[in-house]
């Protein structure tokens, strides 16, 4: 069902914690416990090391590519409490900005929708979430949400810029309705939604369902329907899908996707948001899709290269 088409030997000297393709799938950024961030050109099945970025003093947990309209920009966050934003100029990568405002490991970084410019959300083990906004001329504006999650924040993910459903009955040409929101997950077992109002960030919703640390959250891309969807996964082995049908964004209904036998580390949505990838401690990645009757079914089960089609739920097997 799937095949390996290219294997990139990163030459990292320790565990790899994150790998991300850029917007077009031409570049790959990786980060590791060896404190480095590497960038590879992977066009046409190749693997050319483009940059070996050193600047962190501890394991680097995540990397995130900014939208290409801002140039080639990559953010990284690390155990060393720093967030570094790297930029490519004339073929070489350099530090564009270094943020040291957290008191503990920074676990997650996520760029906001390009409609809001260059804005980065950072979640940290000190429980705070920082929002770094580029205001031009090497200046960054910092807003901090302290005590966002007690004990620590593990993940942040931005909502699409446009209010869901606003594209329906909207005459084209009219400026769509923007809203600045993101979701976070923390060691307080909670999933929280944050909204910016009048220049201030406020806690908008508190979603309770997990019984252990929330490891990752993901806000699904919008396909124009008046529904918002968020996925969350936790140390408790559960993955929940949260949906909200009202445009005001007030009632979120959880649905248990599945209970796994081990920690679930990551959830991520495909580009059109119709497939959710879940990776867990059982060394597998499963892909999930919403079926005709609204329930979620597993459409593939991939463990290290072999493929198999299997269903876990009792619903009809969906199309491949």
């Amino acid at each position: 069902m799937v095949s390996v088409i290219n294997t990139v030997d990163t030459s990292h000297e320790d565990m790899i914690h994150d790998a991300q393709m850029d917007y077009y799938g031409t570049r790959l950024a990786t980060c590791s416990s060896d404190r480095t961030v590497k960038i590879f050109d992977v066009r046409n099945g190749g693997q050319i090391l483009v940059a070996d970025l050193r600047g962190h003093e501890g394991p680097v947990w995540q990397v995130a590519w900014a939208h290409p309209m801002f140039g080639n920009i990559l953010a990284s966050c690390s155990y060393d409490r720093k967030v570094i934003i790297w930029k490519e100029d004339n073929g070489s990568w350099d530090k564009m900005y270094e943020y040291t405002g957290h008191e503990s490991s920074v676990n997650s970084v996520c760029w906001g929708p390009y409609e809001f410019g260059l804005i980065l959300a950072c979640g940290s083990s000190d429980g705070a979430i920082s929002l770094l906004t580029f205001t031009g001329d090497q200046q960054w504006d910092v807003k901090k949400i302290s005590n966002a999650h007690t004990i620590g924040c593990n993940a942040v993910s931005w909502a699409p810029a446009v209010v869901p459903g606003s594209l329906i009955d909207q005459p084209s040409g009219q400026k769509p309705n923007y809203v600045k929101r993101f979701v976070s997950g923390g060691c307080d077992n909670l999933v929280k939604l944050w909204k910016e109002e009048d220049g201030q960030w406020k806690e908008d919703q508190k979603l309770e369902a997990h019984s252990d640390w929330v490891r990752d959250v993901g806000w699904a891309p919008s396909i124009g329907l008046p529904t918002s969807t968020i996925a969350s996964c936790s140390q408790d082995g559960r993955v929940f899908i949260w949906t909200c049908d009202d445009p005001a964004g007030n009632t979120w209904t959880p649905e248990l996707l599945h209970k796994f036998n081990d920690v679930v580390w990551h959830v991520s949505w495909s580009i059109t948001g119709n497939i959710l990838a879940v990776s867990g401690g059982d060394n597998k990645v499963t892909l999930w899709k919403e079926s005709m009757d609204g329930r979620w079914a597993c459409i593939s089960d991939v463990s290290k290269g072999q493929g198999a089609v299997s269903t876990i739920t009792d619903t009809q097997q969906t199309e491949q």
């Binding site: 069902m1 799937v2 095949s3 088409i5 290219n6 294997t7 990139v8 030997d9 990163t10 000297e13 565990m15 790899i16 914690h17 994150d18 790998a19 991300q20 393709m21 917007y23 077009y24 799938g25 031409t26 790959l28 990786t30 590791s32 992977v42 947990w61 939208h67 309209m69 140039g71 100029d89 409609e115 083990s125 593990n154 084209s172 040409g173 396909i223 329907l225 081990d262 920690v263 580390w265 990551h266 991520s268 495909s270 580009i271 059109t272 990838a277 990776s279 867990g280 401690g281 059982d282 060394n283 990645v285 919403e290 005709m292 009757d293 290290k304 290269g305 097997q317 199309e319 491949q320």
Partner: protein, 591 residues
């Protein structure tokens, strides 16, 4: 966060399109590798590319068939389109060595055309099914050729196999011609061969275009059937086991048919043959009963039906949704189900099967197919048309996907841009123009950056680039990209800085053409209109210098500002000179 659990962790990230990236946990003994993984879709096969390209053409044509005609008048058009799709499949089969999947696809499509699109009624139905079987059992002709080309065809070891195969396919004329060869070798059995020839020649075949009704045909056929049966009972062919076999086949004896499994080779050939000799007036609704029993009879107890068998069975049961579902699972890409479902939908054969997110089955499959195409470096353009014809989600899917097309060259960017502009996807247009503008700026191509930011209607960026142009001028004393700046037109109004740039260049042009009066007026207006950036005022004043040196008296007045000392001195000197000249001139006139 530190992983403290003992479990290993397989990392994962979506790439654009369907390229997934796996990370592996690296322990001291391992290798820190990232695997790029891709779904096994056949879009990367160069031969299938032809299939995608040509079927795209047919697809677009189908969408534009007039809505004004009632469905039944459109049937011949739909059948013709179905045949077009099939001929594309066959064309690809000829190029591909490994044809089994395409053969299966064409087989299924053909059956769907017969049963669903053409929807032949009893009488014609069997004839169509006969055609269907004959088309997909081409080895008979090969064998026949081999036999006929041999020295003594009637003695060839495959001779009787060919004759029986012809009979099984209802190709009685050809069977008769073959038998003639045997008859000449056995003059003693001439009457027996004559009898067989007569039986074969008299078998009635329904003529849909003729005046005979189905009932009349049925009566005629039964008479013939009885005659054949009589011959069997009379042992007319008892002394020739081959002719006896043929007679039994003609009477529709199941056991005899099953004895020739190797010649039939498939249960559906068995089905059609059985219907031909037992029930040629079979109705569409009766098919499934015969299909199921034939499948069971044909497969021995050990073998299990394959996916293809289930699909064909579902077709005979007229369960269109099951056919589509089974094909979706069995096949490696969405091409077949997407196009077939689309055609069936146009024929109004699909009940709206509402999926949870509000789209119907046709749209769902087309979206899956087109999304798959988007990962390909050139096929993505075909996908655009498919998205266009998905009324519910096509547009938003296109918006999401088109932003991921790598803008490797300016030409490609323009292509993508045109697609977005044609569909009023203003956000995407802006985004693409901004990306190109940024890229041009990074490569120091200011002219290109400026024109992209104008196209993006990005005032902020236009301002930034205008600044760079002006800085460039200050540094080098000349402008670059004069053509662009000279022809800005109304775009100049996008940002103040840009307007200033345009007007400033105009000033230089006027000055160069020695239209000093107009130049001076423009310069003055630039200074007073407050669109000149403060940092540029010194430059403007310096530009004013030569004007002040002109023989003609040009009256200028400007505000006093903080400026460099030497330049101020120069100005004072120039002003003093100008004043002096003015006084002299006035004095001269008066005197």
């Amino acid at each position: 966060m530190c992983q403290t659990s003992a479990g290993t962790h397989l990392g994962f990230a979506w790439g654009p399109g369907d390229i997934l990236v796996y990370e592996t946990l690296y322990k001291a003994s391992g290798c820190p590798c990232i695997h790029e993984v891709r779904k096994d879709e056949d879009i990367y096969s160069p031969i299938l590319r032809k299939l995608f390209n040509e079927s795209h053409h047919i697809f677009v044509g189908l969408q534009t068939i007039g809505e004004d005609l009632p469905s039944k008048n459109k049937k011949p058009q739909f059948v013709s389109i179905s045949k077009n799709y099939r001929s594309v499949i066959r064309a690809c089969m000829e190029e591909l060595q490994q044809v089994s999947i395409l053969l299966a696809i064409e087989l299924i499509w053909n059956l769907c055309e017969v049963l669903f699109i053409d929807a032949a009624p009893a009488g014609s139905l069997l004839l169509h099914l006969l055609d269907w079987v004959r088309l997909h059992k081409a080895d008979v002709d090969e064998k026949a050729r081999e036999v006929l080309q041999s020295e003594s065809p009637a003695e060839h070891h495959d001779y009787w196999n060919v004759v029986v195969s012809y009979v099984l396919q209802g190709r009685l004329e050809e069977a008769r011609q073959m038998l003639v060869k045997q008859a000449t070798l056995q003059p003693a059995a001439r009457s027996m061969y004559k009898l067989m020839d007569t039986l074969l020649s008299k078998m009635p075949f329904y003529n849909p275009g003729g005046t005979q009704t189905l009932t009349e045909f049925d009566v005629k056929w039964r008479h013939w059937h009885e005659e054949v049966d009589r011959c069997l009972q009379d042992n007319s062919f008892a002394s020739n086991k081959h002719l006896e076999v043929i007679c039994k086949i003609l009477v529709g004896d199941e056991d005899t048919l099953l004895e020739h499994k190797d010649l039939l080779s498939t249960w559906y050939h068995f089905l059609v043959t059985r219907l031909l000799f037992c029930h040629p007036t079979v109705k569409p609704t009766e098919l499934h009963y015969y299909a199921q029993s034939c499948l069971t009879m044909f497969l021995d107890s050990r073998s299990v039906p394959e996916p293809l068998d289930s699909i064909l069975l579902a077709a005979f049961e007229f369960d269109i949704h099951q056919v589509i579902k089974d094909c979706s699972i069995a096949l490696n890409n969405w091409w077949f189900v997407a196009h077939l479902t689309d055609l069936l939908d146009h024929c109004k054969l699909l009940q709206s099967h509402n999926l949870h997110f509000g789209s119907n089955l046709r749209e769902f499959l087309l979206l899956e197919y087109a999304s798959g195409l988007f990962t390909h470096h050139s096929l993505w353009q075909l996908a655009v048309d498919y998205f266009d014809h998905c009324p519910e989600f096509g547009r938003v899917y296109l918006e999401l996907q088109i932003e991921r097309v790598p803008l490797d060259t300016e030409r490609k960017a323009l292509k993508v841009l045109r697609i977005c502009e044609q569909r009023q996807m203003s956000e995407q247009v802006r985004s693409i123009c901004k990306i190109m503008a940024m890229r041009a700026l990074r490569n120091n191509r200011l002219g290109s950056a400026l024109s992209w930011s104008i196209r993006a209607k990005d005032a902020a960026f236009a301002t930034l680039i205008s600044e760079k142009f002006l800085q460039d001028y200050c540094a080098r004393g000349t402008f670059s990209d004069l053509d662009l700046i000279d022809n800005l037109g109304p775009a100049m109004l996008l940002s103040d800085r840009l307007t200033f740039l345009g007007k400033y260049r105009e000033f230089h042009k006027l000055y160069g053409e020695k239209r000093s009066g107009e130049a001076a007026k423009l310069l003055l207006s630039l200074m007073t209109a407050k669109i000149a950036p403060r940092s540029f005022w010194m430059t403007l004043l310096t530009d004013a210098l030569p004007l002040l040196e002109q023989k003609e008296v040009v009256h200028l007045s400007f505000q006093d500002e903080d400026t460099e000392l030497t330049k101020v001195e120069l100005l004072r000197l120039a002003l003093a000179r100008n004043l002096a000249r003015a006084i002299v001139k006035e004095g001269t006139v008066e005197a």
